[in-house]
Every structure is written in C-alpha cells, then in structure tokens.
Assembly symmetry: C2
Homo-oligomer: 265 residues x 2
C-alpha cells in the first residue's frame, strides 16, 4: 500500500519544538512535507500576504526530510505547499502545530495554527490543528504523542467531512493522567483585554496588547470543560460562519427594502 502524504505546518515557526514533535509522530504514519513560517506567526489568524512578495526556501531544520521555510503567514504556507510545491499531488492529511499554548474556545479565530488547518480544509484536505496547554518554549510534548498519533490515524483511515477540520487541544498532564479524548463544542469564552501603556525614548506613547481569558460557558459539552477535567478536547470545526439561527431575526429587512422604499430613504 502507498504511504499517505502528510503536510505539516505551524505558526510558531520552523524551529519550534512543537512542530518537531508533530513531525516525529507523522513520520510513523506516512511521508511528510513540512512548510512552516521562518519566524513566529502567533496571532496571525487567517491573514494572507497580498501586499508583499513571499519567500520560500528549503529548510535545514529537518535533515533528511522535505522541508521549506516561508516568509509568509501560516495560511500562506498551506497555499504555497498545495499550489507551488505539490503541483497536483494531493496530501492525504494536513496537520498544524503542535502549538505552544491553548487554541481552545475562541482562540481558534486568532490562531495561525488553526487557520492553516482551516485553509487546508478549504482545499479539500482532511486537516487537524494540535495544541498543548503549555506556552513555554521548552514544553514537554511527549505526553500528547499517543493521542496525536491515534487521532491522525483515525482521520487517515476514516477521512473527514468536506470543509471540516479538527481543533485538538491537549491538557498539560502526564500521559497516565490524561483520561481520554472528548468530542466537544467550542466554549463561548473570550479575552478581556488590558492594554499596557508605555513611552518610547522619544516620549511617544505606545501600547502592548495583553489580557485575561474569561469563561462563563461552564457546560460539560465544551472544550474548556474537557481540558479542565483531564481530557484531550476535539472540536470538529468549519469555515461556514453563517448563523442560521439568527436568520429570522433579520428577515424583516427583506420586506423593508424594495427599490421604491430605497429611493425614498
């Protein structure tokens, strides 16, 4: 049987320990192609590079493997991999991460890691974003590996609904203390911002973005509940942002606005 082809990217950059751990797991399941940003791209969301040219160089970060580093965003990495490097070869799976820090709940929309996975899902590639709840550079990625391998294998064997991706977060716990995997919905939590104000040497004011995470959505079907209770959280996610439930509440707009009405406004 032909080995599956696994595309790997991240948002912490090609030298981050997290992507190294992910490559180690992926190599046990298939052939890998690594295309990752040449510098950290956390918080880039679904940004793409349209006002600047993008550079793409072979990377020496993974000796013996096909690896590239890219000057663009995580989403750019996926686009370049699919459209320039692979030229028709379709990866069987795209994995992004392992992110240094949580991408549970609302973090999915700020996360370059998850946006890269979403871009792959837009290309029709089954895709998974992995994150470990440990922001430190020297985080221990070993405990999550068995679960990561299990989830990747499941998706390789069973495929994934078109346009869907998985947002996987791993608690910061020894493997023996992780209770298992939970399928969850995205908790409705948010960041409460606190900007830190400072002055530069020329007396000009500037701000640093910081904040604390606030969660009032405490139900046990959420990813945050699963993580707090020792589970790996898996949220099936998608790029259709339509709020179908809210359609009726704005439907009266259709009646209000005929050409006649519009002309008289």
């Amino acid at each position: 049987m032909k080995k599956p082809l696994i595309l790997i990217t991240n948002d912490d950059g090609v030298t981050a320990p997290g992507i190294r751990a992910l490559v180690e797991v992926a190599q046990t399941l298939g052939d890998v192609l690594i295309v990752a940003p040449d510098s950290p791209q956390s918080g880039m969301g679904h940004a793409i590079t349209i006002h600047d040219p993008i550079r793409l160089h072979p990377s020496r970060a993974f000796p013996g493997l096909e690896a590239y580093e890219c000057s663009g965003t995580p989403v750019d990495c996926v686009k370049l991999a699919v459209n320039v490097l692979l030229e028709g070869r379709e990866p069987d799976l795209c994995v992004s991460g392992i992110n240094h820090g949580s991408n549970a709940s609302i973090n999915i929309i700020y996360s370059g890691t998850l946006s890269a996975a979403m871009e792959a899902s837009l290309e029709g590639i089954p895709s998974i974003g992995f994150s470990l709840l440990d922001y430190s550079y020297d985080a221990d990625f070993e405990q999550g590996k068995p679960f990561i391998r299990q989830i990747m294998q499941y998706v390789l064997e069973n495929g994934m609904e078109l346009g869907s991706l998985l947002n996987v977060n791993i608690p910061k716990l020894p493997a023996a203390e992780i209770k298992g995997i939970k399928i969850c919905r995205q908790a409705d939590a948010r960041w409460v911002e606190e900007f830190v104000e400072a002055k530069d040497p020329r007396g000009q004011k500037y701000y640093w973005l910081t904040g604390r995470f606030e969660n009032d959505d405490l139900l046990p079907d959420t990813d945050l509940w699963a993580l707090e209770n020792g589970y790996v959280s898996v949220v099936p996610s998608m790029h259709d942002l339509t709020n179908y439930r809210a359609m009726d509440s704005v439907r009266p707009l259709e009646q209000l606005s005929t050409t006649e009405n519009a002309a008289s406004i």
Copy 2:
C-alpha cells in the same frame, strides 16, 4: 433621547473613500468614533498584534469628528477603541467598511473588515461589515448608502443576537437597479490560487499570491446568488465555528482512547 454611539473602522485604512462614505451615513444616525488602521490591512483576517507595540494617534482625516489612526490590524483597532478610548462607554453599534471589494462567501475569513466586525460582536456590540463589489479606489459608494442606512437603523432599533454580526455586500449597480435586500447563507465557494513567480535583482526567487474565485454552490439561498441577481446580500454570521453536524463522525475517538489504550499505543 440620547443619540446612539457608533464605532467605525475598516481595513483599507483611515484615508480610504469607503470609510468616508460609511461615516457620512453613520452621522445621520448617531455620534461616531472612528478608529481605523493607518495603512491598508486587507487580507489580515483576524490577526492581532502581539509581537510589536501598537501606536494610536488622533487622525486629521475627519475634521470635527473624534477619529484615531492605529498602527495595528483592524481587530487591534476595535480592541483599542473598546478598552483604551471608550473606557466603559459601550458603543450601540460597530460598523466596518465600506470595503473596496467583495467580502461575500469565504472572503469573510480572510477579510480584516469582517474580522473587525466579528471582534466587536465578541465584545457584545451589535456589528455589521459593509462591502461594495468594486475593488477600485474611486468606487462610487453613493448607490449603497440608502441600504446601509436602512440596515444600520434596523439593527439600532432591534439589536442583534449576542455573538452575531451581519456580513453585508452591495452589488456594483445604480441604486435604482438594486432590487432590495436578501437574507442569505454564506456560499461555499473558494479561491483557486495561482502564485506568480519572479526574481529579485539578486536573482532570488519570490512569489506573489494571486488567484481566481471559484463557485460551485449555485443555490438561490446564497449570498453570491443574491449579488449576481441584483440584491444586497445580508449574511448573519458568528464566531462559533463548531461543526455540530460532524460530531458523530468523530465520536468513535472517545471510545478508542482510554488511559489504558493510550498507554499501549
């Protein structure tokens, strides 16, 4: 009665004609606070600035109005407005745009304009992103104004479901030819990328991102159908990206992974 407070931002930058048109409409409905990027930020998606300090300066682009320009992304603009400039005053509405070019369908996830509106919705502020289907700098924003005013007024009077926002796109047509407003779902279309390869003066290869838009989702309940048929499209959108329908297909992962299983992988 107290006049409503309307927060205004965009992704084309504080000097773009689109935001000027939006300010003109908003002024007829309430007091305005303008916080927009100091340079174009198209394609920034939900990016936030975490590795650099952010500058915020009073802007002279709107004489007589409270206006600021910000070195960060559209999402940064909303965060700074809410957390630094307003300090507790809650805007009654946030509007973003008018974008020079379409943000229908999948463009919502790449768009700084819509990400700013989504950020406001996360803050609990009813919010709307407006876009005109004309990419040119000198686009004529007049024809859309009656519809924009009507939609803003409707939201000011009726509020909006928490966590929801409206993605409004306006066809490039004279006002008299616009048939009205249609409430739609996001069409499942995508960009097919074609990278343009070039070489710099030192012989180094680089790429420009370009592409064409491809739509196979031709049903009449989509935003793309509405726009092609002369309607203003309104898609109620949200930040919950959970794919509830896909949950059952990955549910077997929960059974596979007990602590015992994980240890034996």
